[in-house]
Amino acid sequence: MTDPRLHFKTPLRQTPFHSRVAEANVLNKWAAWGGYTTALELSDGEMEYSAIRNSASLYDLCPMVKYRISGADAGAYLNRLTIRNAAILAVGSVHYTAWCDDEGKLLDDGTLFRWADTEYMLCCQERHLPWLLDTAAGFDVAVAEITEEIAALSLQGPCSASVLNAAGFDVKALKPFRMARFAFDGGELTVSRTGFTGDLGYELWIAPDHAVSLWDKLMEAGAPWGIRPIGTHALDTARIEAGFIVANADFIPAHQALREDRVRSPFEMALDWMIDWDKGHFNGRRALVAERNGSTSKWALVGLDIDSNVSTEGSIIYHDKKREVGHITAATWSPATKRNIAIAQLLRPYHDQKSDNLWVEVYALRELQYAKLMLRAKVTPRPFFNPARRRATPPGNY
């Protein structure tokens, strides 16, 4: 074992797939994510995005934070922690969920996997162990961070089912948000039909010592479909098209916010549809009841369709070109829909009744000179891109 005092020599960890990602990363574009070295773009960003939408893509998901929650009260515990009803989640199923502090402000969102009657896995962007442990007091439940115990890969794209089948994993009957298990390499592979691209896709969970052989297997089996490792930039384009939000990009977790007006409730991030008001008490419920009954939500999360093709990332939104009414948290030119799209936070009621006269102020850098643009923005439904193949079971034979 290395001397723990030498930790500063390796400020970022390498994921179990690092050797393979490094090999593919000819552009050498790396970034830190959750304490790991991860790739932003490997060889060609456009082609990587194209793999997500047209063939199959492989993305190293290891830095996602994972917690195992087990024990007789696991369901009751998660019902107290999260806003959705975890107790009715079927074994072998997954759901998207979120959790709040006492004031009903978002701490994070994530996916919850029910492995067994009394065992779940919570997968999210940020770390929450103290909060999860504090919440466990009084429950017969054990909470452990298992981020390093599980290597995760995301296989996304219309051909992803075909690639899995070719690799020997029959996922034809696997429905969205369901899990299946397969023997692999002397270990066990869990495949869930989940993803962050809004396309047909799967996430694969395996012990780290089988990680590299899984990667190799999929790359080999996927070759006829043009499978391609991808970086975070390509995934980000796809997730915006799918209308997904990311903690610390589209909202600040309440425990990290320094400015008291930065925190957001589920209503304000369009996550209120998940709240189960009838399951009993959960963290933040009283504050959320007050927000619902008093209609006191200040913000709304919307999708925007913006004139021109200039990316509007981080721009301020005006009503009638005068009054500041919001800002854009994620934006991209959408290759799939050929639209200039964005995810934005708008002060109410500029998200609906007063949404007819919205403008985005963009400073576009054109050969070392910024051009100030006022671009027309229209509120538009999310997801921006929502193909039927995402939900089809059995999946299309592409």
Partner: protein, 519 residues
Amino acid sequence: MPSFDAIVIGGGTNGLACATRLAQAGQRVLVIEGRDKLGGSTAETDPWPGYRSPCLSHLLTHLDPRVETQMKLADHGLSFVDRNIPSTALALDGNHLVLTGAAGDTISGLISDADRTAWQGLRKRLMGFAGALAPFRAMTPPRLAKESGNQYLKLAQLGLGLRRLGRDEFREFLRLALINIADVLEDDLADDRLRGLVAFDTVLGAWMGPRSPNSLFLYLNRLSGEISGKRGATALPRSGMGSVATAMIQSAKTAGVELKSGAMVERIIVENDRATGVALASGEEISATTVISAINPKTTFLDLVGPRHIDTGFANRTRNIRSRGGAAKLHLALKGTPDFRGANLRSRLVIAPSIRSVEDAFNAVKYGEVPTRPVMEIILPSAFEAGHAPDGHHVLSAIVQFAPHEPKDGKESARNAMLENTLSVLEDHAPGIRALIEHSDFLMPYDIEDRYGMAGGNWHHGELAVEQMLFLRPFPAVAQYSTPIAGLWLAGAGNHPGGGVSGAPGWNAAERILSRGRS
């Protein structure tokens, strides 16, 4: 299922005060007490044949005037041997210092004229500050949040009262409010006995030493109390502390309160996010429109309500209420009259020879250790009146500080060591007293926790310290007696102006419940 307008959990002084106030307003009220005897820490026991002994508290300093008059405690049998029993600062050489009158109005004994004058000045000043703060005791602490139901008129009066001290005194108040008592005593006084006595009185029942930051505020809190309109009182109820409990029980009964003792509440029933009643350990369930907990706030939320009905942050805040007990309780049955080197036994005997002695005794408990020379306050109820012990015998009650609430060498061994050190100090001051001991009973903070449900064995159901007083008691979200759970209220000593035996938090809570009901 029987049903009431209000159920009060806990039949201590605050529970009884709250219940009586509600019943006087026409509500049907039930008080449920887990122990066999009502009265909480003021109840008495008959531990040994022929002897009566106070359970925990043995003197009264803070009886709320509203409780005293509106519960007609005098009519229900409460009277006092003395509303201002003298305090004797015991000296090993017999050169005691005796303070008589409210908060040591006059000093007798050998002491320099300079100290005599300085004490008068200091006492007057501190009494002035305490008097300005006293009205705050009878109101719900304010909050900054919108629609908090603040009593702005009363707050304005309070502010005016402080301003009325005059510019110079107000400036002194601001200088002293958060200072430690040791610095002030060392600035103003030279006499070790006097310094030791005041230092001891300041930290009595607290988990801090005289040099701990903000300790002076506790002395102001002590002086802000009153008995029958007399500020700075140290009163001994006639026929013992138990008569406070008895009078309050009688008053509650007269007001129509139903009393149920020997019934442990196991759970507060919460339905649709509203407290609707209680479930007893016996399995019985009783419903009520309002449930009021006059027991420890930690126990209330973490055990009776349970984490499933409260938010994680709120549970953390509750768990973090600081509640370390530093006081042990000694009861002795003596088969003769002890001699504290000539000290008047009809006084409060304090062994705290210097600031240093109090601070040293506190230092030990910081590390979970037993102090070698504990400091203490001694009362011999049997010296004041007959009926506490057989003729010629005495019963001695002492609050001994500081005792570790989490001893590092184990509870049994700490109890034995603490008792031995206590008796050894006693023997030094009253030679021969050990030979007189017929029976003894010694409660460490953890014994007090077990017996009286005080978290950490802290007498005040949460440490008295500036950061846990007033609108911070026990913490801001529940400082106004209401809780996040509709229909559930707090009324115990864990809330403002709690600590001690006063009935004030209970009375304040009842007033708040009634006014909120009207609004």
